[in-house]
């Protein structure tokens, strides 16, 4: 835990000098997304700091996952712009890795763990290039980083939920991207997996990469992340965890008395 605190402290120093928007790994401007008649995300601006680990936090139905999908263009944007390293995201997709929610695919699909990780090399392999030993070794190394090297030849349906999540992370690692976008990576996983995932994400940050996670567990935000983006359809607040993840902002995000009880348990500083 003390390691985490140290890392967070050092990040605060970095975040003081606000970079130009062009340097931002992910700049979101006035992004609005609607399902039918109701905005799921309304006019959200956000500027993700380089080499930060940002949690997107908000109640159920606040548009967290939708925000991520709209950033990637998986769901259509009603208005707004998304810049990655100063360019429209469509032009620099090779620098972005995406980890979808585990439940979004059919795990009965006939394929093995190693094949899923090799999907992360699609941009390199293209249509017809053969998978060579070097590719396999890279995929295995990625599996090793998430502690799943022994499972390479398993059918994916035989994995537990936590193991499935690790395989998805390994696939993203294989993409060797600069910006990692993860949709609820800790949802429904066991404690060991949670530990393994957070270690990998922190290592990514150490390699000067940027990590953004949709996150639902308020109790771990301060431990895991350097920055936080609070949303509830609109952006409520954005910034370093120490100054932004406050009882007041959470109250604004969640509302209701139920939230108050939760927030009390977090023992946050009152700004």
């Amino acid at each position: 835990m003390s390691e985490v605190a140290l890392e967070l402290a050092s990040n605060e120093g970095k975040a003081v000098a606000k970079p130009l928007p062009a340097d931002s790994p992910l700049l979101i401007q006035e992004l609005t997304v609607a399902y039918g008649e109701k905005p799921a995300v309304f006019s959200v601006d956000a500027s993700i700091q380089p080499q930060s680990m940002t949690a997107i936090v908000g109640p159920n139905g606040a548009g967290k996952s939708t925000l991520l999908k709209a950033v990637l263009g998986i769901v259509p944007r009603l208005s707004g712009k998304v810049l990655v390293f100063g360019e429209p995201i469509e032009n620099v997709m090779q620098r972005v890795a995406y980890v979808p929610q585990r439940a979004s695919v059919d795990w009965d699909f006939p394929t093995r763990v190693i094949d899923v990780v090799l999907m992360g090399l699609y941009r390199e392999l293209g249509l017809l290039r053969l998978v060579r030993r070097a590719h396999r070794e890279r995929a295995l190394a990625c599996l090793d980083r998430v502690g799943m090297a022994d499972f390479a030849d398993r059918q994916i349906g035989q994995l537990s939920g936590g193991q499935q999540q690790r395989v998805f992370l390994a696939r993203a690692l294989a993409q060797n991207a600069d910006l990692y976008l993860l949709d609820e990576p800790f949802a429904g996983v066991d404690a060991a997996t949670e530990r393994a995932i957070i270690d990998v994400l922190k290592a990514l940050r150490g390699e000067k990469r940027t990590v953004v996670c949709v996150h639902h567990d308020l109790a771990t935000v301060s431990d895991y992340f350097s920055n936080v983006l609070l949303i509830n359809i609109r952006k409520i607040a954005e910034g370093p965890v120490a100054t932004t993840f406050t009882a007041e902002n959470l109250q604004k995000t969640y509302g209701g008395r139920l939230a108050t009880a939760h927030i009390d348990q977090l023992k946050l500083p009152v700004a």
Binding site: K69, Q94, A103, W107, F109, P110, M119, G126, L128, Q158
Partner: protein, 308 residues
């Protein structure tokens, strides 16, 4: 197994095998995408496509029929998508609305059109006429080396071979993006696979297989081959690569056993008339699937089903 076999049975069996493989290949992906019934829908809308092509051109030659049927398949898919999205109707029902209506339109158009000069009717569309695709000029196995005899091969054989070849090559070339987008569409989009083009492309490939096969073997085989061999293959293995190979094996077996049973089976039990080869091929593919459901090594589900 001599001259008579080469003349009467060799080409229908080959055409049957090629048709079965051409349909089974896209069928593998349709099944994994929970779109197995797209194959059913396509094989129904082929009829109006061909009838319209005939009305426009006045002939039943390959290209107009191919374009008419592929066009009808694309139109059907677009209407299904529109109903699903705009009307917020579940895909199965949207499909049911569209393919029955288009099939009804095809039947009605056919009744209203003078087709006395050509071989075009609903029953032909359903069962095809595999038995009639014989090799007149063949005199025995030696004819396979005789250019004159080879020139007399039924044109359906080349058509079906071309369709099977094209679909096979496309499957190999686009294997990787097809697999990724079938498994995880969101991720596929994020790594640059044009997922919409691939799902439409798969439908068009299925339509091409359906049209090419339809003329020779009728739509029953088309639907059966889209679904039964890949479904049985899914129960044999947990790897897509091997599943596709199994589906080719099952498709081939269905075609051969089905044709032989239809042509020679009745003789064995002392009757003198052959039965419908198309129907028998579909029946055999069903028996193979039934056996796979009962005994195949990987018949039970292990992964959690997709939510929502």
């Amino acid at each position: 197994m001599g001259a008579e076999f080469v003349q009467l049975s060799l080409t229908p069996i080959l055409i049957g095998i090629l048709a079965a493989i051409a349909c089974a290949l896209p069928g593998n992906f349709l099944i994994l995408r929970r779109q197995a019934l797209i194959g059913d829908a396509i094989s129904h809308v082929v009829l109006p496509g061909i009838v319209v092509a005939f009305i426009v051109t006045g002939t039943i030659t390959t290209w107009p029929m191919l374009i008419g049927a592929a066009g009808a398949a694309v139109v059907a898919v677009i209407i299904i998508e529109a109903i699903r999205r705009v009307g917020r109707i579940e895909p199965g029902a949207a499909m049911g609305v569209v393919f029955t209506a288009l099939f009804a339109a095809g039947v009605l158009l056919l009744e209203q059109t003078d087709t006395s000069g050509v071989h075009l009717d609903v029953e032909h569309a359903l069962y095809g006429n595999l038995e009639s695709l014989i090799w007149f000029s063949a005199e025995g196995w030696g004819s396979l080396l005789d250019p004159q005899a080879l020139a007399g091969l039924p044109p359906e054989l080349f058509r079906m071979a071309a369709a099977a070849f094209i679909i096979g090559v496309l499957t190999i070339i686009f294997w990787r993006p097809l697999k990724i987008s079938t498994f995880d569409e969101g991720f596929a989009g994020a790594v640059g696979v044009p997922t919409t083009i691939f799902s439409l492309g798969l439908v068009i490939a299925a339509a091409v297989a359906a049209v090419a096969a339809f003329d020779a073997v009728g739509s029953i085989i088309v639907i059966a081959m889209f679904i039964c061999p890949p479904a049985a293959a899914r129960l044999m293995t947990n790897r897509l690569e091997i599943q596709v190979l199994w589906s080719i094996v099952f498709a081939t077996l269905s075609a051969i056993i089905g044709y032989v049973l239809a042509g020679y089976g009745p003789l064995w039990i002392g009757r003198d008339h052959a039965v419908s080869a198309a129907g028998m091929i579909a029946t055999v593919s069903g028996i193979i699937l039934a056996l796979a459901c009962l005994f195949a090594p990987h018949r039970a589900r292990i992964g959690a089903p997709k939510e929502g």
